[in-house]
């Protein structure tokens, strides 16, 4: 589904990704772990197409298409979802309005019929309920006044609504208490654990992996994947720290 080969990327002339390669097949959950500054968030932004991040070498194929040729909104329509570490507040735009425009823009991009207001509201309420989010929060401006945990839960509601093929979740577990962590973990499994879907979890800690069991764990350090393994690698990292594994 996703094939990253020898990816080099820089921001403001500073090279962050230095030859990263990774293949993700449908039905798989990959965890990318690594110390601060390793390039984890940069990887998410480059895959999402954030302006300012320049790819200087390498290739990324998504479902057989050149991902790097696509604009950010086209990547979303093609089925890629980027969960933000710091979801952005948008005053004056309600969650409902934002999500309906987002979903219908994606549907139009795929030549599907837009959902009516009533159809959309039903879907949004179902997804909010599944993540224990008060339906009232759908009416509030996007992320404005939301706590850290509420913002992350809102990311998962958005993911449930747009129903992507590939989710790249950048530290979705940060800022969550134990209960919220379980709710978010359940949400990821429910929305994304399917034979035709895949997930890349970018995280510092093992704790989310207790809820969303990864098939593969990769260690990212200084812009490259330096070790890959199964779930046992996450346990080893937790036990010995990055210093131990990197040594």
């Amino acid at each position: 589904m996703l094939k990253i080969e020898n990816l080099h990327a820089e921001i403001d002339g500073k090279e962050i990704l230095k030859g990263l390669s990774l293949s993700v097949n449908a039905g798989e959950v990959h965890a990318i772990m690594g110390p601060n500054g390793a390039g984890k968030s940069t990887l998410g932004y480059v895959l999402g197409g954030r302006p300012g991040y320049e790819v200087t070498a390498g290739s990324v194929e998504f479902d057989g298409k050149d991902l790097l040729e696509m604009a950010p909104h086209e990547r979303a329509a093609a089925g890629l979802f980027l969960g933000f570490q710091y979801p952005v507040e948008i005053p004056g735009v309600s969650n409902v309005q934002f999500l309906r425009e987002a979903l219908n823009a994606q549907r139009r991009g795929r030549d599907e019929k837009p959902l009516s207001g009533a159809e959309f509201l039903k879907l949004a309420r179902e997804q909010a309920a599944a993540l224990s989010m008060d339906a009232e929060m759908l009416k509030r401006p996007v992320n404005v006044g939301f706590s850290g945990g509420e913002k992350k839960r809102n990311e998962m509601v958005q993911m449930g609504i747009v129903n992507p093929k590939l989710a790249i979740l950048d530290e979705t577990d940060s800022g969550l208490d134990i209960d919220a962590l379980r709710i978010v973990g359940d949400g990821i499994n429910r929305i994304m654990r399917a034979p035709d879907k895949a997930v890349i979890l970018i995280t510092h800690y093992e704790r989310l992996l207790g809820y969303v069991a990864p098939d593969f764990v990769h260690v990212l350090s200084a812009g490259r994947i330096i070790r890959s393994g199964g779930p046992e690698l996450a346990a080893e990292l937790e036990r010995e720290g990055y210093a131990g594994v990197l040594a």
Binding site: G48, A71, A76, G92, V93, A105, Q106
Partner: protein
């Protein structure tokens, strides 16, 4: 606001105007006078959407008698020069409310000029103006508040925000306070900014194309300016005109 001689740059309220355009229509007609009887309310919605090459200058003189209130909503989008001036005289305990938006591109010059004369005590005023400017457009808000010596307990506020869509657009925001009383509140705030790049990427990452994302953010920026229009049908018409003006700019 009515001057007999053609104004020059030295005239404070014409400082940022397009004087060539002004000269082409000089002399301008006298201001429309709206006198609001004591204790009553008047509301006006002014949509200035003249043709691109037109010069549209609209002058209003509002006299608020004791306890009277007036609500003005101004959508200033049309013309080579589009200028709306409102000169308000506030008697005892009256209130003036303005919600204004200027949306312009190309070589447009758009202006909203208000003068609030608080001549008696206890009168209040609240003015909210939002501008979105692209191309080489200039948008100016000049808001003077004059509080007479005995006009105690005057409470006047202005909130002015402008959003620039291009490096070549200009926004002017000029509050001018002239206060001779000692127990008054006059608040003003002005900002000039650009669209938030983080918000644009967030919207794009959810599938919203750039032009649509910009329109959403700009709609939110203008936000509540027209919320106070009492007639729902009229409010929807004004909001639709504002939306159309925004879309033309993107």
């Amino acid at each position: 606001m009515n001057v007999l001689a053609l104004p020059t740059r030295r005239d404070e309220s014409w400082r940022y105007s397009d004087l060539e355009a002004v000269a082409s229509v000089w002399p301008i007609p006298a201001a429309e006078v709206i006198e609001v009887p004591a204790g009553t309310h008047v509301s006006r919605v002014i949509v200035q959407d003249a043709a691109t090459d037109a010069v549209a200058i609209r002058d209003y003189r509002v006299i608020l008698n004791a306890g009277a209130t007036a609500t003005f909503h101004v959508l200033n989008v049309g013309g080579k020069l589009g200028r709306v001036t409102i000169d308000v005289t506030c008697h005892e305990g009256s209130h003036f409310e303005l919600g204004g938006a200027m949306l312009g591109g190309g070589d447009q010059t758009l202006e909203i000029v208000t003068v609030l004369n608080h001549i008696e005590p206890n009168a209040t005023s609240n003015q909210v103006v939002r501008s979105v400017l692209g191309g080489r457009a200039t948008g100016s808000y000049l808001g003077k508040v004059a509080v007479a010596r005995h006009a105690q307990k005057t409470d006047a506020s202005q909130s002015v925000k402008a959003m620039l869509l291009s490096r070549t657009a200009t926004a002017n925001a000029k509050p001018e306070l002239e206060i001779f009383a000692d127990d008054v509140k006059c608040a003003h705030g002005a900002t000039v900014g650009e669209l938030d790049a983080n918000a644009l990427f967030y919207l794009a990452s959810r599938g919203i194309a750039p032009a649509q994302a910009k329109a959403m953010l700009l709609r939110a920026f203008i936000g509540s300016v027209f919320e106070g229009i009492e007639d729902v049908g009229e409010r929807e018409r004004v909001e639709a005109s504002a939306q159309a003006a925004l879309e033309r700019m993107l």
